[in-house]
Symmetry: D2
Subunit: 341 residues, 4 copies
């Protein structure tokens, strides 16, 4: 059975795992105060071009979104997101669980447009009733989005400028950030993100780690006592080394980018083959996710040999499926998939 | 200055105030355990045709929606509402503040259609990912809606049936219930609501009381320790008598309906005059709210002599305003308004 | 049946009620933006000797404690209170419901001593583990306390100084403040409280109002968008006038003090009689609550003619009861009680 | 530098790490639906003697306590714990963060006595005011406790019986459960815990895993949609395999007990040496934690060669320190420590 079902089907990248093995018996302090957490934070800060960056590690994406959101928002504020945003749809209400509303605006292939954001914010303050409404207190975007799409640098500049005009932070969910940074045609790099966002996270779980996300406050702008707030949400690992060691490995010798490229290359092979064979690709995703529309019979047949993700019903006889690659996808498996298509 | 700005501009109906005066120096137990709360509850139960009904009193609508929602929902559930629903838009995030998401579906003039609800619920359970989504755990409707519109009995029957199929309670926000019950053409009475909803509240603040809403669990289905949950939300008045006495007065000799009729009659005078004079009424509201589209110049002029509510911009040169009547609106003021139109 | 069961058994003081009657049919804006709320706020600010004071009104004490606490604390902080404090024991977990811990220190007859507070705060920061503990973020005291006792001015000075050293606000719950301000022997007046506390509330429910408490931020130090936060907790009355009119009456011609004195005078009559007749008064309460230890037989007998509050079992054959007076207690009833003792 | 500072200073036990290595490249479903989670659950159920047990995995102890507590309690309830309980003191308010109060009763060397619990529960319901108080809704104990002490089987029987009389669940925090199960003199085994508790967790983080705790509902009594509730708290790992594989290893060939014994044996060596050398051991802890009282000079000297945990000041010139062993402590290091003492 070939597996293209998602990008978290395997364990850790071998080089990451090796570092866990190598450091396993070292005595280290707990709760993120070990030398690997420090080292990883420094390497990430350097990669971001932000020497004053503060970096914290948490185990998963929903947890990270929950903690960051609850720390950035004031009680009367909510987070603005695309209606398709992960925080709005697929986190079981983790934002609401900590008391905040997700304020949705129309997404386009998963992205928020600065002009839509601007119109929303202007409209909010123009409403005479807004004192009895949830105030927009931050903006959530994902890059790549849930649909594998990417913002351009100009689009991020525009969103950032709008946020700064309204004095609300811009937060970027980078669960799959590695795959976005090395995608063909992107003009956005990590220093752009660090410059334009107020806080963001670099995803590990889907990009080579067993678990773990690195939250970056690029200008030393972490809230006071952020560790205590992480603890209060049950998100502070006793063995913080587990996260520190992995991110230290991922940000050594550019491993994070190198392993991300594998996902892009195998996805590119798939996209090319699909186009050549006349399949309908339904989203313009340059990253590791490929969305294809199939008739149900074809899908049924394919599912006998390939694990993929059901995405959504398209019409009575067609379905959109997702084929995901990752750092772990082999060229052999990719070729086998192409042969089946 | 004529006042048609809302339905909570005055104090209490004189007969309600009189009862507060008459009972003022009686020694009564606190926290809703006084004889007036009991008597009011019995009268309301009788009016609902539900001898086993349990009735609780709270001070305001947002508070009531917050307490009821938090008591009915399980932690992993949210409340389904029209996108225009009061709980979604104008309660400053009171539902999210207690940990729950408002799951919106398209409203039509403030109303939810049973087929839209059914499609939403069916779609939810069909989604393979729904275990990581917020489960629909109750349905919120308002009657009259925020737009002054009303459900028909058949529409309520359909909504109720859908809710029962999916085993989720139907909750009706009756902030302006009195005005809905006596509106021309409605076929919905209090016994229908009690029969078709699992919980609802009868609004006092906007219908003759100084403050107060009466929550009804028509089949003795209040959650255990509901009073403690009210207290925990800061919503239990020490002098519960304030609410009991008022509702006892409102449900004596059908006062609640009688004073509601005044709002309908004065609103009908306004609607008739507007139609005759060629104004554009933008919502088919049979209750105490009238929504009119005016050119901005006309609006400006009118605003010098009449207090009304700005509703929304219609286009570059027109605005929709709201004219609200209430139990307190006089025929003289109404006639004066008509003369100005 | 004589009633000394509590200080919220009757409605409003006649002069307060009269103002509600007089203003009942005025058209006024909602949500606390009416002229009576403004006027009451100004009168309270003047009484506090704080022209820049900001004053907000809410319906009840638990609600007020909940809203204020949740607005003053950061997410990683809790509120320090005496173990016997109302917020710790008798509010059904309203503080925890909004996410915060009540950090208790030993109370003495309901009061916190500055040296105990200081020792607690010093110990907290000395603990190497405090980053994984709840930070003390404000101090809650009540005056009078739940036991009817009062702080001296020096005690308040000391508490205030400790709070300022640690940069945490001092909050005073004045549910029965009127009775404290006019108690014999007190050297604390409203200007002291305004000077020494960062926020406090002046109780209305137990001192002449139907409902209502006035929250005072004496140095214009209310949190931004405090009204929205009140709304979000369901605590913003549409007819805010109900609270404004009552407090405007209470702070006209010193009514608040005058009616409080009645409670003190009748309580003094009771205390004197108890002492003369050899009863054991168990708390040194100079305010409107009197705590007496009775053998159970005597208590049983008394309960046939007097409503009082059971306070606690003292030993196998004795019980402590509470006799409460208020603005509404008559000299006749007090004399009748004394005759029964 | 010798390390006896805590029991989470190293990575994973080599056999656990090996299983992560061996399974690393397997394609597995996410979110705990993989075969290792199932296998681990079955092995744990068998070890508990409860074939119907449901087992869920989370990353850390505070998280587990937070999720379990929030799922078991009704909104008006709190959790009863010893005043020294981890949930009360060292979790940064994680229980309050999800809306619940920790109701403390006096602990004795970290343990709750059934008679104290019974007195507390009886007193609660006897209090006429209890409807305005937080209801006791579950009982939290730790085994071993925060002080390394253990319940006897009879003590657990008694606590369990009291809980059942009052119909509230008994929850056991087993962060260091392994060390308790193999301690000399204990008569409590895993089947006793499964029989007497309603839910408990088996600690991995401190007993051989990189991270992870296994929550057991021994009688198939997990709340409905528990996975969704885990997700909502940000506690559901995408790569649930990380936890499943580790617990599968820990519960294969009794590894969990075997590695726990090492901690007990090395701790026993230390305790014996301390006694022989006349040190004052301050807690009767039969598990992996040893609490010793030292004069400050001695402590200072020792700290140059040994990492240990400062526990508390004893008096002006003495301090209590903690020496912790674990699965990773070597006999060589232990002997070196003894030589230094």
């Amino acid at each position: 059975m070939l597996s293209f079902v998602n990008d978290y089907s395997e364990g850790a990248h071998p080089a990451v795992l090796q570092r866990l093995i190598d450091t396993n018996m070292e005595h280290l302090p707990g709760y993120g105060k070990d030398r690997y957490c420090s080292s990883a934070a420094q390497k990430i800060a350097r990669a971001c071009g932000c020497p004053q960056a503060q970096v914290y590690f948490m185990a998963g994406g929903t947890q990270t979104n929950q903690v960051v959101t609850s720390c950035l928002l004031k009680s009367y504020q909510g987070v603005v997101a695309a209606d398709t945003g992960h925080v709005n749809v697929h986190e079981a209400g983790a934002i609401e669980a900590v008391g905040h509303k997700v304020l949705t605006i129309r997404g386009e292939q998963g992205k928020i447009r600065a002009e839509d954001l601007d119109a929303y914010l202007e409209g909010f303050y123009a409403d005479g009733n807004h004192e009895q409404m949830v105030f927009p207190g931050m903006v959530y975007i994902s890059h790549p989005t849930e649909y594998g799409t990417l913002y351009t640098r100009q689009e991020l500049e525009d969103l950032s400028q709008t946020c700064r005009e309204y004095k609300i932070p811009l937060y970027l969910d980078g669960a799959r950030l590695g795959y976005g940074l090395v995608a063909p045609g992107t003009d956005v790099d990590l220093t752009d993100i660090a410059r334009l966002c107020d806080v963001f996270y670099i995803g590990g779980t889907k990009v080579g780690a067993l678990c773990g996300e690195a939250v970056v406050f690029p200008r030393g702008n972490a809230p006071e006592h952020f560790s205590t707030m992480i603890k209060r949400r049950g998100a502070l690992l006793a063995k913080g080394r587990l996260l520190g060691v992995q991110f230290d490995a991922l940000f050594t010798d550019d491993l994070y980018s190198r392993i991300s490229r594998n996902a892009i290359q195998t996805a590119a092979m798939i996209k090319k083959a699909l186009r050549e064979k006349g399949y309908q690709i339904v989203m313009d995703s340059p990253t590791n996710q490929t969305f294809v529309r199939l008739d149900d019979e074809r899908m049924e047949e394919l599912s006998k040999q390939v694990a993929f993700d059901f995405w959504e019903r398209s019409d009575a006889t067609h379905t959109v499926i997702r084929l995901a690659t990752s750092w772990a996808t082999t060229v052999e498996d990719t070729q086998a998939l192409i042969n089946l298509l």
